[in-house]
């Protein structure tokens, strides 16, 4: 919203024309009216409807007497769904588990992703132009792959007996875990092992995006700044910490936001690799929405969870705008 205002204002500092010339009305409105009518039906209306649904105990299998199947046997319950989130029912506990899982997943993915992509981008950037293109192309390969195929593939890589990982662990003389994806009592540094496996698979699939963005940003750092740093004796770690990272700050912020937001929405890899198990240790928020809405037909409850997801995305976005603006003023 903030960005909309800024772009809008910057877009027309001086008005060249005050409006459409005759003959342009037909083209402009003839094109925009169908497009915005469409958006009204498929974008605006769903957004309003999801808010409305979250105030009802709505299920499509029951027939209500009001408009859109609401009312009657699909009663209005006010903030009931949101209050229920703090309750002690099984559904509420499941929701809170999914919420905590999603937050844990998003934070760990962000940390692991940045720890890999930022240094790797510096290394890729430092090699010869030809090789740079080659490495970048290969590293980006997993991101274009079908998420379902990737999830099935990693499910097999983590197979206890035949899987690649456990056999590699055996090869170096260590004892591999009995089971990566199904043992509820297996933890690594306090994180459920199944969650660790999903995080590894997801970071493997996703790191190419941030890598490419970082490489592009690094190419934008002027040569002179690096040369000056070299003359002052800054190389290696010092250069990375004092030159590269501060100059990449806006990019870092953007990457953090995008990575967080997309981690909140992950569905496929959880659903296909673990189906949320063992004992809901990898049940994600999007799975929770899907299962409640389309398996249990509890669409009112699922809509209220959707809005929680939206609030999380909005919060991260607003924090980004806020930080960007302070930077700007400075």
């Amino acid at each position: 919203m903030t960005r909309a205002a800024i772009v809008g204002r910057a877009g027309e500092p001086r008005k060249e024309r005050t409006g459409l010339r005759p003959g342009q009305h037909a083209f402009v409105w003839g094109s925009l009216i169908p497009i915005f009518l469409y958006l009204g039906v498929f974008a605006l209306f769903p957004m309003i409807w999801v808010v409305v649904l979250s105030f009802f105990n709505y299920s499509p299998v029951r027939v209500g007497d009001g408009p859109l199947g609401l009312g009657g046997r699909n009663p209005f319950i006010g903030f009931g769904n949101f209050v229920a989130m703090f309750g002690t029912t099984q559904a509420a506990q499941l929701f809170r588990t999914a919420m905590m899982n999603t937050l844990l997943f998003a934070v760990l993915v962000l940390v692991v992703n940045l720890a890999i992509t930022l240094p790797l981008a510096v290394l890729v950037e430092s090699v010869h132009e030809r090789l740079k293109g080659f490495f970048r192309a290969i590293y980006f390969l997993p991101t274009v792959s079908s998420a379902v195929a990737v999830a099935i593939m990693w499910g097999y890589v983590f197979h206890p007996q035949q899987g690649l990982i456990n056999n590699l662990i055996k090869l170096v003389g260590l004892t591999p875990p009995r089971s990566w994806l199904t043992d509820p009592n297996a933890f690594f540094l306090g994180v459920p092992l199944a969650m660790v496996a999903v995080i590894i698979a997801y970071v493997w699939m996703d790191f190419g995006y941030n890598l490419v963005i970082f490489i592009a940003a690094l190419q934008g750092i002027p040569r002179e700044i690096r040369d000056a740093a070299h003359i002052d004796g800054a190389t290696g770690w010092a250069e990375f910490r004092r030159i590269t990272v501060p100059l990449l700050r806006p990019t870092l912020l953007l990457v953090c936001t995008l990575t967080m937001i997309s981690s909140f929405q992950v569905f496929v890899i959880f659903q296909v690799m673990t189906s949320g198990g063992p004992q809901n240790q990898t049940r994600s928020l999007t799975m929770e929405i899907y299962e409640n809405a389309f398996r249990y037909q509890a669409m009112g409850w699922a809509s209220s969870i959707s809005l929680v997801l939206f609030a999380m995305v909005l919060l991260v976005t607003l924090v980004q705008f806020r930080v960007l603006r302070t930077d700007w003023e400075y």
Partner: protein
């Protein structure tokens, strides 16, 4: 003291650390390469082993006995008419790409080059759309499809996403830099407003249209959640749906499930090899995800 020391030390320091740093750099880059590629190679090799070799402990990496048995089994399976599923995925992807490119470039052109009342309001609405994840509105989107009787139809995968807010935003950004003189010259030559868009603006949008097109194609081809909700008939499944169904049918036959995964991965990898430059540049330019 420090200046003298630094100027004498710096070159020396760099010379001594350079070969080692080089070797270390390449070692890490190659390790990354291995981590990226080995899982792909591993499932490809698995799909080429006989079932008896797969369950052996410790497992082999490369097949001792090479066989296309798993692929033949899939091709011969009457419950898996592969051509049908490839066609389903292709239809949905091509339809969505064609429609998205048209609506995005048309609306993007209008927002970039025309001034009219309510423009900022409408464009603001597009920008707000960018922030709303699909998962948030998928329940109402489903209920709308029920009303339109598009459940269990491939059109149900196309019709809810014919206008892409991100596409409009991207096109507006590109078309803003398009010279107004060219547009005005075409008008003087008697081109209609739509003619200007069709014959002057469109042909000059090769790069952004290609980028948006490839991203829409890949997103549609790999989409799982929405088809999972909309499609119920086996013959109407798209490839990712087919893959999870097939895996559930043959959960212990890793030769078959890995071969099926390879068959789903292959087309998109071929597309990637051809369009790699566009795709990588597109991400760098737009931060698209």
């Amino acid at each position: 003291m420090s200046t003298v020391q630094l100027t004498t030390r710096a070159p020396h320091h760099r010379r001594s650390s350079r070969p080692l740093a080089r070797i270390l750099t390449y070692a890490i880059l190659l390790l990354g390469l291995a981590v990226t590629l080995v899982p792909f190679i591993w499932i490809l090799m698995t799909s080429l082993k006989p079932a008896s070799e797969i369950v052996r402990i410790p497992p082999t990496f490369f097949p001792e006995q090479w066989t296309f048995n798993s692929y033949q089994t899939i091709f011969a399976d009457p419950k898996v008419p592969l051509a049908r599923f490839y066609l389903n995925s292709t239809f949905v992807a091509v339809a969505r790409v064609a429609i998205t490119l048209f609506t995005s470039s048309l609306a993007g052109y209008i927002f970039a080059k025309y001034t009219f009342r309510g423009k900022n309001l409408l464009f603001g609405f597009i920008l707000i759309q960018l922030m709303i994840p699909f998962q948030v509105v998928m329940i109402p989107a489903y209920l709308i499809l029920v009303q339109l009787r598009l459940i269990d139809s491939l059109w149900g995968l196309v019709i809810p996403s014919m206008v892409d807010a991100f596409g409009i935003f991207l096109m507006r950004q590109f078309i803003s830099t398009f010279p107004n003189d060219l547009i005005d010259a075409a008008r003087i030559d008697g081109a209609s407003e739509f003619g200007v868009y069709r014959r002057v603006v469109m042909p000059n949008l090769g790069a952004p249209l290609a980028t948006l097109g490839i991203f829409t194609f890949m997103a549609t081809w790999n989409d799982y959640l929405w088809p999972l909700i909309v499609i119920t008939t086996h013959e109407k499944r798209t490839l990712p749906l087919l893959l999870t169904w097939y895996t559930s049918q043959h959960s212990q036959r890793y030769d078959l499930t890995m071969a099926a995964s390879i068959l789903v991965l292959l087309p998109i990898l071929v597309v990637y090899i051809f369009f790699q430059r566009w795709i990588v540049r597109g991400v760098a330019l737009t931060g698209m995800k």
